[in-house]
Structures are given as structure tokens and as C-alpha cells.
């Protein structure tokens, strides 16, 4: 029961969904839409177990006075305000939007912008001509870097065209080859899941 029922569910849901893709008739389309809505709904609903976990771990940290427990108070306060504002005042409430715009948005943008620094430290370290492969990586990167800025055009007016060519020809070729491999891997993975061959996601029972 503990193994068979989940396997039946994954098999039936999966192959039914596959079938509806090819059947335009109404019952098929509406039922597939319903199943997809349910799946989105269930996944979203799960966020509460996550929130529950987040609260539990941080309350625990404060109670046991673990390292950095003071910060957990900050976390829980902001979490509480957001949940309160969102669920009581609605998602258009002033507090909710204010916190989103003045806290979450700039924090997200700043975290994202750290990449400007990390591309620099990574390229200093990694782009060294240790092997023929590393040399190719390095040359392609340097050509594109120079060709993308106005100075590249001043050095040689065909530089931007060369960059485009690299992006459109060897880059496209490699990306596409990688993609085909990925598609095959994905289909085989999905098939193994649907057939119940791949079960490690159920807690590794084999």
C-alpha cells in the first residue's frame, strides 16, 4: 500500500495527461485543465508547510539561544508583518506593498548585482590557459568582452560582427547539442518516474 498506491497515482496521472495532449475533444481538454489547476494549486498550497518549517526552526533557535539567535527575531518579525498585512489587509494593502517595494525589491536587485563582482573574480581565476580547452574558453571570452564595448569597434570595426558570429554559430551549435542531450535525459527520466523505475524520490525505496 505504502509503495503501490503512490506508484499507481504517478502512473495514472502521468499517462492520462499524456493522452489528453493528443485528444482535442472537450472532456479531455477540460479534465486535463482541471488536473493542471489542481497540481498548481496543491504545489502553491504546500508553501504553508515551508512557512511552518521556517517559523519552527527560528523559534527553536531563539528558545535554545543558538548562535545568532537575535537575528531570528528580525526574521520572524518581518515574516509576521508580511503575513499579517497580506492575509488581513489583502495583497494590495499599503503595508504589504510598501515592504515589498522598499525592502524586497532593492534587496533582490542588490543581491543580483553582486554578479558584477563575481564575474570579475571568477574570470581572473578561471580563465587561464592551462589546457587547450581552457585556452579556447579564454579566447572566446576575451573576444566577446572586447567586441561588446565601443572600444572594440574602434580597434577593428568588424569586432562586433565577429562577436555576433561566435554567438550565432559555434555557440548555437554547442547549446543545441547540449539541449538535445538534455531532452533525451529528461524524457528518459520522466519515463522512469512514470513507470515507477525511478523511485528514489519516494525516500529512496528501491
Amino acid at each position: 500500500m505504502k509503495t503501490i498506491l503512490p506508484l499507481i497515482i504517478v502512473f495514472c496521472c502521468g499517462f492520462y495527461m499524456l493522452a489528453t495532449f493528443f485528444i482535442p475533444a472537450r472532456f479531455s481538454q477540460t479534465s486535463s485543465q482541471t488536473l493542471q489547476n489542481w497540481y498548481l494549486g496543491v504545489m502553491a498550497f504546500f508553501v504553508f508547510i515551508g512557512i511552518f518549517n521556517l517559523i519552527k526552526i527560528n523559534v527553536d533557535k531563539i528558545q535554545r539561544k543558538l548562535r545568532d539567535w537575535q537575528y531570528s527575531i528580525i526574521l520572524l518579525t518581518f515574516l509576521g508583518v508580511m503575513l499579517g498585512a497580506g492575509f488581513i489587509g489583502g495583497r494590495d494593502s499599503k503595508v504589504f506593498l510598501y515592504l515589498f517595494e522598499n525592502f524586497q525589491v532593492p534587496l533582490g536587485a542588490t543581491m543580483f548585482s553582486l554578479l558584477a563582482f563575481f564575474v570579475a573574480s571568477a574570470s581572473f581565476r578561471a580563465f587561464r590557459a592551462k589546457t587547450p580547452e581552457a585556452t579556447l574558453l579564454l579566447i572566446a571570452a576575451v573576444i566577446v568582452m572586447i567586441g561588446r564595448i565601443p572600444i572594440g569597434y574602434l580597434i577593428w570595426h568588424k569586432f562586433p560582427d565577429l562577436v555576433e558570429w561566435i554567438m550565432q554559430v559555434p555557440n548555437t551549435a554547442a547549446k543545441r547539442g547540449i539541449l538535445f542531450g538534455i531532452d533525451l535525459g529528461l524524457i528518459s527520466m520522466a519515463l522512469r518516474v512514470l513507470l515507477g523505475i525511478e523511485r528514489s524520490y519516494m525516500g529512496g525505496e528501491r
Binding site: 525592502f103 553582486l114 574558453l137 572566446a140 519515463l191
Partner: protein, 205 residues
């Protein structure tokens, strides 16, 4: 007034995140915990209003679609691990989600990825300029050699080894080029933050 406070808060949080580049410190920890708290709350609210409510509860409560009790039951099983006796039932929502999702991915990837990408590789070698023909040939060969690299059934030796090696070269050029190409966008993000600090906050430019 409220706007000024907002700008100050955003500016100080921005600096707190950057301080992490020097080393981990109390300001970063404050910013990090605020960020996690606010965003976790934000997503819980958004996921509820945008997905869970309209897909599960609204049809049942306002449109009387009684059969929507099923997915709600499936969703509630997320709490099953709290009761050891029925903890295995957590597998029901997991397998339900995966069954639907895997099927959707299969059709989506065959239809949206494999077919158009294969077709895009059927490139003309004749009837185009010499340079274009060469570029097209290079794309076709690049795809084939990259695929050969991913061939798992044989040791990469002999002819297969050479093919796989060329495949790696194509990938390395692609990785280097993509890396170089992305830098501009990443630096733009930092420019955006600096502009915010210098213009909106300090007003010096």
C-alpha cells in the same frame, strides 16, 4: 516623508548587502534576515492568492464544485509527516504532482524543443554564400560532435574520442562566449544600484 524613509531604508539595505563582499558581518546578517522574512511572507501571500485560492478553494466555496475537495485533501496531506502513523501518505501529493508534471514536461519538450531545434538544424549548404554555407556546416557539425560527447555507451577512444574532443571544443567556445556576453548585463545591474545610491539617495548626479 514616507518616500524618503523608503529611499533611506533601501539605500542602507543595499550597502548592508555590499558589505558582505568585504566579509560577513552584522549588517549583512540583518539584511539577510529581513530579506528572508519579507520574501517568505510575500510569496506565501502571492502563492495563496494567485494559485491555491483560485485553483482549489474558490471553485469549491463559491462555485460549488464539490469534487474540488479531492485536491484540497491531497494538499492537506502535506501535514501527514507530523503524524508518524500516516506519514507515508505524504507520497500521495508528491506523486500526484510529479505524475502530472512529468507528463507535461515530456510533451512540452518534444513539441517545443526537439522538433523546432531539429528543424532549425536542417540548414542549407548549397544556394547560399560560401561564408554562410561554411557557418551552416559548422553549426551542423557542432551539434553532431557535441551530441557525440554525451554518448555514454563507449569509452571516448579512437574516432569516438576525437569526435567527443571536438564536441568539448565547441562547448568551451560557447561557454567562454556566453560568459563574456553576460558581463554587460551584470555590470548594468550594478550601475543601476550605484545610480540609485548616487542619484535618488545622495543626489550627487
Amino acid at each position: 516623508m514616507i518616500n524618503t524613509i523608503g529611499i533611506w531604508v533601501a539605500a542602507l539595505l543595499t550597502l548592508a548587502i555590499y558589505s558582505f563582499l568585504y566579509k560577513d558581518n552584522a549588517f549583512y546578517k540583518i539584511a539577510e534576515n529581513i530579506f528572508v522574512g519579507v520574501s517568505a511572507g510575500y510569496w506565501a501571500v502571492v502563492l495563496w492568492y494567485d494559485f491555491a485560492w483560485p485553483n482549489l478553494f474558490e471553485p469549491l466555496l463559491t462555485r460549488g464544485q464539490w469534487y474540488n475537495i479531492f485536491p484540497i485533501f491531497i494538499g492537506v496531506l502535506m501535514f501527514a509527516p507530523l503524524i508518524p502513523k500516516i506519514s507515508w501518505m505524504i507520497r500521495i501529493p508528491l506523486t500526484f504532482t510529479m505524475g502530472v508534471a512529468m507528463a507535461v514536461s515530456i510533451t512540452q519538450f518534444v513539441q517545443g524543443d526537439i522538433f523546432p531545434q531539429l528543424q532549425a538544424t536542417f540548414l542549407p549548404l548549397s544556394g547560399v554564400s560560401l561564408f554562410k554555407g561554411f557557418s551552416n556546416l559548422l553549426i551542423i557539425l557542432g551539434v553532431v560532435f557535441t551530441l557525440i560527447y554525451f554518448y555514454f555507451s563507449k569509452e571516448h577512444k579512437g574516432v569516438l574520442g576525437i569526435g567527443a574532443k571536438i564536441g568539448i571544443w565547441f562547448m568551451m567556445v560557447s561557454f567562454g562566449a556566453s560568459f563574456g556576453y553576460t558581463i554587460m548585463a551584470r555590470v548594468s545591474l550594478f550601475i543601476g544600484r550605484i545610480y540609485f545610491l548616487l542619484h535618488h539617495w545622495l543626489g550627487v548626479i
